[in-house]
């Protein structure tokens, strides 16, 4: 497992024998390759269309071939989107995502550490509870969550999105993290204990550095979910100043529905930050996302 995480996806050592096998079946790989390019076309066509269209004027869009490059590219759509306070929505999304991920990592890691290190009935019940939490579609609990948020007088605040997001992220985070902490050799824990280290020190100095890849997995997986989340902001906030990006996209589309290029410019703008992150940390992201799932 640890090997999967640290080895970049594309550079695995077994390149040579595989090549030999592939050459032996040249014909079959042709078919697979063909299928691969077809799927690429299906994936890329809508994305290409979004980008190209977002650079056209509305008049130009109706007059020209939708897949042609714009004859006179314009950024006016982007200006319209930015004028509609997308910077504010962007900041809201950042606050909600960071505000969810940091506490989630901290408390999930502590819980995972406790579950692995301890064996009391209490900890076993906690573990069982989180496992059950995995099987339940937590979005179904949205009505009581709404009630609780109102009672806490948090309705229409960013904290209203953050608190349930943390709770929804805990079960999977604890499961993934505890499985990684379990892989840390018992002898290391034992030697820390003999050296007189407290459990807290053991966690910070031993378990944390050794399970950093798992923390990336959990952070990326939950981060994407929260950044793209729609239901919680839709139900738990109301005023435009508390909108996150997905919700802003939806209201913008409702407002400018006929202006297709402007709507698509808003799609590009809200997606751009994630794509930039993807370009920078692709390997971490890809290996991080799946390390917890594929074994």
């Amino acid at each position: 497992m640890a090997d999967t995480l640290t080895t970049p996806v594309e550079h695995r050592p077994e390149v040579r024998p595989k090549k030999r096998r592939n050459q032996r079946r040249h014909g079959r790989n042709w078919l697979a390759g063909f299928g691969g390019w077809i799927w690429l076309f299906i994936v890329v066509l809508p994305i290409y269309w979004i980008v190209v269209t977002s650079l056209k004027t509305q008049a130009n869009y109706y007059a020209t071939n939708p897949l042609a490059l714009p004859t006179s590219p314009t950024l006016s759509n982007y200006q319209l989107v930015i004028k509609s306070d997308f910077a504010g929505y962007f900041i809201n999304s950042v606050i909600v995502t960071v505000g969810t991920i940091v506490p989630t990592l901290l408390i999930s890691f502590m819980a995972a550490f406790a579950i692995v290190r301890g064996s009391s009935l209490f900890l076993r019940s906690v573990n069982w509870l989180f496992l059950m939490g995995l099987a339940i579609p937590l979005q179904a609990t949205i009505i009581p969550v709404y009630l609780i948020i109102i009672k806490l007088k948090l309705y229409d605040s960013l904290l209203a999105i953050i608190l349930p997001s943390i709770a929804f992220a805990i079960p999977l985070s604890v499961l993934v993290l505890s499985n990684f902490i379990r892989d840390v050799p018992k002898e290391l824990f034992e030697s820390m204990r003999v050296d007189g280290a407290s459990e807290w020190t053991t966690m910070i100095r031993l378990a944390l550095p050794l399970t950093r890849p798992a923390l990336v997995t959990v952070a990326v997986y939950n981060g994407l979910g929260v950044w793209n989340g729609f239901l919680l902001p839709l139900i738990l906030t109301q005023s435009p100043s508390k909108r996150t990006l997905p919700l802003a996209l939806w209201t913008f589309q409702g407002q400018y529905g006929v202006n297709v290029p402007a709507v698509l410019a808003s799609v590009v703008l809200t997606t751009l930050p994630i794509l930039v992150l993807y370009a920078i940390g692709r390997r971490q992201l890809l290996s991080g996302l799946t390390a917890g799932f594929s074994k």
């Binding site: 939490g133 099987a135 009505i143 002898e187 996302l289 074994k295």
Partner: protein, 312 residues
């Protein structure tokens, strides 16, 4: 090893030592689980029981909550729309699974190959996972618009149908878009799993003269068994929560052709302000999800989720 030997005399016999260490550490670590437990209880566990509780009440979402006995349940269960909603939910679940699973396995096996162009394709394939459901829904809604979309612009009659305005087409579009969005993630899971199949298995079958298709059926697929269970669980339980995509694309329409349970819960609760019946619907959603997860666990030979997520 030396540490073990050093600590042994202090704590007596090995057996006793293990016992005392375990209880000793448990006492001092248990508190670390409390923050997560508190947050999960407050916003996960209590709401779960809250759903059950609220389903026996009458509440408009703003005013006071009144106990209402079984009236909400009676209203929901006798609603002629419920069988249809359950059927659509089931249909979306089964069809999206049936489209995604074979495609994800094939793409995953394909991406597990080491050629450079496959690595490039993997980068591109993954992009849909990064987009929000709202962005994807808005994109396809515009793309498929019969008057302003791609088909109309290219003057292709087949593409300029009223995709989201005809019952069967709308459901088909939802399945397609769901697949477009989630196949990349699942094929990545399969890619990782395929790469962990021991190379020696393929080599020895090659000596016996097995072809690639034969190898796929007799080595790759059986070896992916647990991954298929994990991926299917994520797909099936996840399909219950396709709220945002459908809400933005069709809002359940045309008519109620794409009205799934999650959407039914939202519109009953937050648009019609009938929180009692909406809670009853949510309870049905919870029970369906739980039943499916347990069923898939059994199919996978018990404890599949744990063994899947457990390290090597």
């Amino acid at each position: 090893m030396s540490t073990l030997a050093r600590s042994a005399p202090r704590a007596g016999t090995p057996e006793k030592r293990r016992g005392s260490r375990r209880t000793g550490s448990a006492g001092s670590v248990a508190w670390m689980a409390i923050p997560a437990l508190v947050v999960f209880t407050a916003f996960g566990l209590i709401p779960l029981f809250g759903v059950l509780g609220l389903s026996f009440t009458q509440w408009d979402g703003i005013g006071a909550i009144h106990p209402d006995g079984l009236n909400s349940w009676r209203a929901v269960l006798s609603d002629p729309g419920l069988p249809h909603t359950l059927f659509v939910t089931f249909l979306v679940m089964v069809l999206s699974w049936a489209v995604q699973t074979p495609a994800s396995i094939l793409i995953g096996v394909f991406l597990a190959g080491q050629e450079r162009y496959r690595a490039f394709l993997a980068i591109m394939f993954f992009i849909p996972v990064l987009l929000s459901s709202a962005a994807i829904a808005i994109t396809f809604k515009a793309l498929l618009d019969p008057n302003f979309g791609l088909g109309a612009g290219l003057h292709i009659d087949f593409l300029s149908q009223d995709w989201l305005g005809v019952d069967k087409l709308a459901l088909g579009v939802i399945i397609f878009v769901v697949s477009w969005q989630f196949i990349p993630f699942h094929s990545l899971i399969y890619q990782g799993a395929v790469r962990q199949i021991p190379k020696s298995m393929y080599e020895s079958s090659e000596i016996e003269g097995a072809g690639r298709i034969r190898q796929f059926w007799s080595i790759t697929l059986p070896q992916l068994k647990y991954t298929i269970v994990t991926s299917s669980t994520l797909m099936v339980v996840g399909s219950l929560t396709f709220f945002d995509l459908i809400f933005v694309m069709t809002a359940g329409g045309p008519g109620d052709a794409t009205r799934v349970l999650a959407l039914d819960m939202y519109s009953t609760g937050f648009q019609a302000n009938l929180m009692g019946p909406a809670s009853a619907i949510a309870m049905i959603l919870v029970l369906v999800g739980l039943a499916l997860a347990l069923l898939l666990r059994r199919v996978g030979g018990g404890g599949s989720t744990d063994s899947q997520l457990e390290g090597a």
